[in-house]
Amino acid sequence: MIGGERHLLSMADLDRDDIEQLMSLTASFAEVGERSIPKVPALRGKTIAWLFYEDSTRTRLSFETAAKRLSADTMNFSVSSSSVNKGESLRDTVETITAMGVDGIVVRHRAAGAPSRVAEWVDASVINAGDGWHQHPTQSLLDLYTAREHLGDLDGKHVAIVGDIKHSRVARSNALAFATMGAQVTLVAPKTLLPTHFEGWPVNVTHNLDEVIDDLDICYLLRMQLERQADAVVPSLREFHTEFGLDVRRADRLGDALIMHPGPMNRGVEIAGEVADRPNAVITEQVANGVSVRMAVLFLLLGSGLDLVDGRRAAA
């Protein structure tokens, strides 16, 4: 149970009950966001540090808004303004921050596993805000929340995750997240954009988007890094768009299936510009729900007081 964990590092740590608990908590916080004063004192006196080793305006702002709505104090440690460039080790940096007294550390790092390492070294709760190609659990939770608002229970629903799966933490997180909630997950990409091995992954894999598009409840598009052309993984972005992009023709075949994207979008690459503005494209809802989900995560880990007591959870 997540309530018994101090950290949120990977969707692999959450079972279906944990996710259900977070979803209902998210609903409570979504309500807070609708108040004329969307702020509660739940984390008053708590301090959260942002440890962002990778640029991320969106995720940072989303977490920042969530923390402020919970009345937490925040402290920002960004790479450009820090001693990271002076050769300080990650551990020294983290210990310096915790010495100032923090209750939570939200970590974004270009290296897979960085939040797991940080969690080994500190008493504070560590929240993974995206690590390399590995995991992005709060993105998955907001995607689940958004999908459930439209589709209800995800059991048996068919989700395609399309595009650069190999280099995507969102894909790894979401494949686990949707499958845990009972959905059928299909990964769609050329082999150059897929991981090499799928043993143990609860997914199907295809290289042909047209083969699955008529059957989908959710078409989840990933951001295509524009520099991938240089890595010789796709001949050109134009060809990628033709074979794997959600163009108007394919979008018509989706019917009212949801179109999702973690942002920022490359219009004209993974998604046609016009398609992104269709009513079944819920991309801005995803962003809005991100704040509520992150409030739920921050509250559960830092404010709920739920923790292990003698190896058991304290009675709620």
């Binding site: 409570s28 004329s36 004063i37 509660v40 007081g305 739920l306 304290a314 709620a316």
Partner: protein, 174 residues
């Protein structure tokens, strides 16, 4: 206190709310999650009946004040249910309804929470049972029953009425 006693007390409180506010205009009843929701609905229904108005004429909402509590860190805290404030409370008379008034801390949290939705003209408090032991300067406007208790007793308000039990469980001393 039997179920009939409870019904009579609610009816009396409904009359008191109407008398005090010169009718039901601008009155919004908000039930505290989760114990006060039933009382709020019954008060609203009785007021409609007394005023010979349509059912549903008095707006009823629910409030979970968990996030405004002052005991974070002292015990596990989780929101129990959704908050739903049906109208903008600004300029209205909010009647907060709860089953049991004890230390007053939940009411304080609720007063705090209400203000994040707007600025009511007045907030009044209706409780089924006032068991004493207040820790804050809070008093109820409408009381179903004053029930002196010891701190180690529990008060259970349910469909069958109101019971006084022991903390060790359902009146059985083990």
């Amino acid at each position: 206190m039997s179920a009939d006693d409870v019904s009579r007390a609610i009816r009396r409180m409904a009359h008191e709310i109407l008398e005090r506010n010169h009718g039901a205009d601008d009155v919004v009843i908000i039930g505290m999650q989760t114990g006060g929701v039933d009382l709020a609905q019954r008060l609203a229904a009785d007021i409609s009946t007394i005023e010979e108005a349509e059912a549903g004429s008095v707006p009823v909402g629910t409030l979970d004040a968990t996030m405004h509590r002052d005991d974070f860190g002292l015990r596990p805290v989780m929101p129990e249910a959704l908050t739903e404030i049906p109208v903008d409370p600004t300029g209205k008379v909010i009647v907060l309804a709860d089953d049991v008034l004890y230390t007053g801390r939940t009411v304080r949290a609720a007063l705090d929470a209400i203000h994040s939705y707007g600025r009511p003209r007045a907030i009044q408090l209706a409780v089924m049972v006032d068991r004493g032991h207040r820790e804050l300067p809070i008093r109820p406007d409408y009381v179903g029953k004053n029930l002196p208790t010891r701190k180690d007793e529990i008060v259970d308000v349910n469909d069958e009425g109101v019971d006084l039990g022991d903390l060790l469980g359902e009146g059985d001393i083990t």
